[in-house]
């Protein structure tokens, strides 16, 4: 199923800009929980869908924003390829547009790269209703400012995505997941020691006294790494990594707000409360924390460690949910928002209340 709605979407945006009416950009709604409370009239983009170009021999894919992520991953799998950043869905209908706008990456992120690393180009509609094309369909391109990657994680506040071009990669021949019994401090130390060596690691997590390590590559390569590292091989472990990525593990079934901390990977365990329970992903660089503690306290702890904290799910979605920006940086964010969306109509307040 394909349809090109770019002209009617641009027309809607031009009209909204004239009337200064806020628009809330909607795909499937799978990540509606993320960011601050959306406001404005809904702008449906899920009808704008279809794979525009997929050239497996070029390792390049261009897709309309409303296309379901599942459809894209299925098309890639047919040719033994993948989106290397292992994006979370958070719902069966997840679209490419929402995936890019949220800029989230899964367990493979520290070892293969983030969503933004695989963006080669986008076309989008800015807040003036102009259709713009940035980047392109080649892997090396330094012409003009990199406004394409800027869209990743901007939560639609700079433009409504129409098409995204990704660099894709061949899927590794084999995966192997190993488990090791150890506490968090030792796990962080171990994961970082391994990451400094040329091992075929594709994911590393820790929770409940167990370190999980995924290796990806050829059979011979994995066999050798396994002999060296030891550990207990988990049977088919795809479910485990999917459940971690989709936050369906028991750890995430908890009413308290879910915090995401992004930290220098070797940061020792942060504590925060006497029975604090942490789930470590990304080899220690991304840590999940369920807590009712005040935002300020969590954010200060993250900042002191050289990272940042966002309230990923739950809690007060009308307050700040992303780590507050220093004044000089916030001022540039506002000017940048203004540069793309002078009337302030695209997903206002979704990222920060001032934008």
């Amino acid at each position: 199923m394909t349809a090109d709605l770019s002209r009617s979407l641009a027309e809607r945006i031009r009209a909204a800009a004239r009337e200064h009416k806020a628009l809330r950009i909607e795909g499937s709604g799978s990540k509606r929980f993320y960011g601050r409370t959306p406001c404005g009239e809904p702008l449906e983009v899920s009808g704008h869908r279809g794979i525009v170009r997929y050239q497996p021999q070029e390792l390049i894919l261009t897709v309309r924003s409303g296309t379901p992520l599942a459809e894209v991953e299925a098309a890639l799998a047919e040719h033994g390829q993948m989106l290397p950043f292992e994006p979370p869905y958070f719902g069966p209908g997840a679209t490419i547009g929402g995936t890019v706008a949220c800029g989230l990456s899964g367990p493979r992120r520290p070892y293969s790269g983030a969503l933004r690393d695989f963006i080669l180009g986008v076309s989008c509609i800015n807040g003036r209703g102009e259709i713009l094309r940035f980047g392109g369909e080649v892997v090396k391109n330094v012409a003009g400012f990199d406004a394409a990657r800027l869209m990743a994680g901007a939560l639609g506040t700079l433009g409504v995505l129409l098409e995204v071009t990704f660099k894709v990669l061949p899927r590794p021949a084999c995966d192997l997941t190993l488990a090791f019994e150890m506490d968090a401090a030792k796990a962080i130390e171990t994961l970082n020691r391994w990451a400094a060596r040329p091992l075929p690691i594709s994911a590393g997590s820790h929770h409940g006294g167990r370190l999980y390590l995924r290796l990806s590559g050829s059979e011979a390569g994995l066999a050798k790494a396994r002999r060296e590292l030891g550990g207990e091989a988990l049977g088919p472990a795809a479910d485990y990594w999917r459940s971690l990525r989709e936050q369906t593990l028991d750890f995430f079934q908890d009413e308290r707000p879910l915090w995401r901390l992004s930290l220098p990977p070797a940061t020792p365990p942060l504590g925060l409360g006497h029975d604090a329970d942490w789930y470590l992903d990304w080899g220690g660089a991304q840590r999940w924390f369920k807590s009712d503690l005040p935002a300020k306290r969590i954010q200060k702890r993250a900042a002191d460690a050289g990272g940042h904290a966002s309230c990923f799910r739950g809690g007060d979605r009308d307050a700040h949910v992303f780590h507050p920006l220093p004044a000089a940086l916030l001022a540039r964010h506002r000017r940048l928002k203004q540069a793309f969306d002078p009337a302030g109509i695209l997903n206002p307040g979704r990222l920060y209340p001032e934008m």
Partner: protein, 492 residues
């Protein structure tokens, strides 16, 4: 040549202020001291600056920027001056700000695998400092002995290994930036992402238009366990080009995949005798890396793909010395081409890999038409072309012919679905070519982005993004009867 800044000279009051701000050795105003700063590695564009500042502290940079900001005087930041597009060319009435004295590695963290660097640290020095920990910094532009990390970020530098390890933008985790207004912005750090917009991506490759980069945190990677290098000879350029796509489609992502045509091979052989086959129409140099156990399988598969693509002979380096020998032929290609003619003009367009053969053939036809020889040596795996147009500037009209030929190649790259610059940047060199790649709306958006960070338009003005006026004039020259150049090529 430069457009937005009318010729002007720096107010004497500003020079007096700079004298008060800086130690005597940090301010150059004598003609002979200024001469080394008149151009970067795009040496056919020159302008002697009136003043060069060589600050030694962050506070001095901030004071220089504030003083220039208050007086509306433009500032051009400069690293080692190895840029190939005139990004560091001085502007009329502007101050040249050299960051050459900021050469400290502030922190090397082997556990988190990052290095925090001042902007004047040379690219190769980072990998040398990381080597005792088994780590290295991946982007390796050909000028890596001399070029600085600050310049690498400003240009989003690439290198021969970016097919697998990415460009600078994929390897930078944090930046500290001074704005023209003198504010210090801290973006990212040692974590894998930061809050807010992805300003790391926006600043990387912004060619000094948005801010002055004063500190860079890069990620370091573990050195691969093992490396194999193969050199394959092909009877035709088209067969070599088609094999590039075949390798990637075969599920192999080489660390490097370089193509050289016969003229480049012969020039290189005359220069360094690396043992390349002189009779081959083209060669592919292919590097694989990874753990030893994997590499053996992968090398065998690669050899099959090369043979299936029509390779007439394959050499495989079995020792580090042989690897070095094979790479020596490629690395000598540019200086070797320099021996073929008094001057050469290096292009940098990128195209989708599957169009390599047709675009190279077209360049060959034009080469005969313009009467200028072209040597091709480039990053084939990325589709990043570097045609070297050979000419003699002493012969009247040859430079202009070379430039016209080059401009046509860039338009061809755009028409083939590619870009005018893969890694060298736009600078002053490709302003007209930008008009063929972007429409008015995109260019206007770029100007608004610049205004968001530099409202006075004082940082490196007139570079990287052409004015709409310039493109309107360019368009009037290039579009005849509503037809774009190269109607025979499918546009997308």
């Amino acid at each position: 040549m430069l457009e937005t800044v009318p010729p002007a000279s720096i107010p004497a009051e500003l020079i007096a202020e700079l004298r008060a701000l800086l130690p005597p050795a940090a301010l150059l105003t004598e003609p002979e001291a200024l001469r080394p700063y008149e151009c970067d590695a795009l040496s056919n564009k020159r302008r002697t600056p009136e003043v060069v500042c060589l600050p030694e502290t962050l506070e001095q940079i901030r004071a220089i920027l504030r003083a220039c900001h208050l007086r509306g005087v433009p500032v051009v930041a400069r690293g080692a001056g190895t840029g190939l597009s005139g990004g560091a060319l001085p502007v009329a009435g502007g101050v040249l700000l050299s960051l050459a004295r900021f050469t400290r590695i502030q922190e090397l963290d082997p556990v988190n695998r990052t290095a925090r660097l001042e902007p004047g640290v040379r690219n190769l020095v980072v990998s040398q400092a990381a080597a005792p920990h088994g780590l290295y910094y991946a982007p390796d532009p050909s000028s890596q002995i001399a070029c600085t990390i600050g310049g690498n970020v400003a240009e989003n530098a690439g290198g021969v290994h970016c097919l697998k390890y990415g460009l600078t933008v994929h390897n930078v985790l944090g930046l500290k930036i001074l704005t023209m207004e003198g504010d210090l912005l801290e973006i990212g750090g040692q974590a894998l992402d930061g809050p807010g917009y992805d300003l790391l991506a926006l600043f990387t490759g912004s060619e000094g238009l948005l801010g002055v980069i004063v500190e860079i945190t890069v990620r370091l990677l573990p050195r691969p366990e093992d490396v194999t290098v193969l050199l394959a000879a092909f009877p035709t350029l088209a067969a070599a080009a088609a094999t590039v796509s075949r390798i990637l489609a075969g599920g192999i992502v080489p660390a490097g995949l370089e193509l050289m045509d016969q003229l480049a091979v012969q020039a290189s052989e005359d220069y360094v005798q690396a043992g390349y086959p002189r009779d081959a129409a083209a060669v592919l140099l292919c590097e694989l890396d990874g753990c030893s156990a994997e590499l053996e399988d992968e090398t065998a598969r690669l050899e099959d793909l090369l043979r299936a693509g029509g390779a007439s002979s394959i050499q495989r380096a079995r020792s580090p010395e042989e690897r070095q020998r094979l790479w020596a032929g490629r690395k000598a290609a540019f200086p070797a081409a320099g021996r073929l003619a008094p001057d050469y003009y290096c292009m940098d367009g990128t195209i989708p890999r599957h169009r390599l053969a047709e675009v190279l053939e077209q360049i060959g036809r034009w080469s005969r038409e313009y009467g200028l020889r072209v040597a091709n040596v480039f990053h084939a795996g990325d589709g990043n072309l570097h045609p070297l147009i050979l000419y003699d500037a002493a012969r009247p009209g040859e430079l202009e012919r070379a430039e016209a030929f080059g401009a046509r190649i860039l338009e061809l790259c755009v028409a083939a679905g590619g870009t005018i610059t893969g890694e060298h940047g736009v600078g002053v060199e490709k302003l007209d070519a930008m008009c063929s790649q972007f429409g008015q709306a995109e260019l206007a958006q770029f100007h608004r982005i610049k205004e968001a960070f530099d409202p006075g338009g004082l940082l490196n003005p007139g570079k990287a993004v052409p004015t709409l006026h310039r493109c309107a004039e360019w368009g009037a020259m290039h579009v005849h009867g509503g037809r774009l150049p190269f109607p025979e090529l499918e546009r997308f």
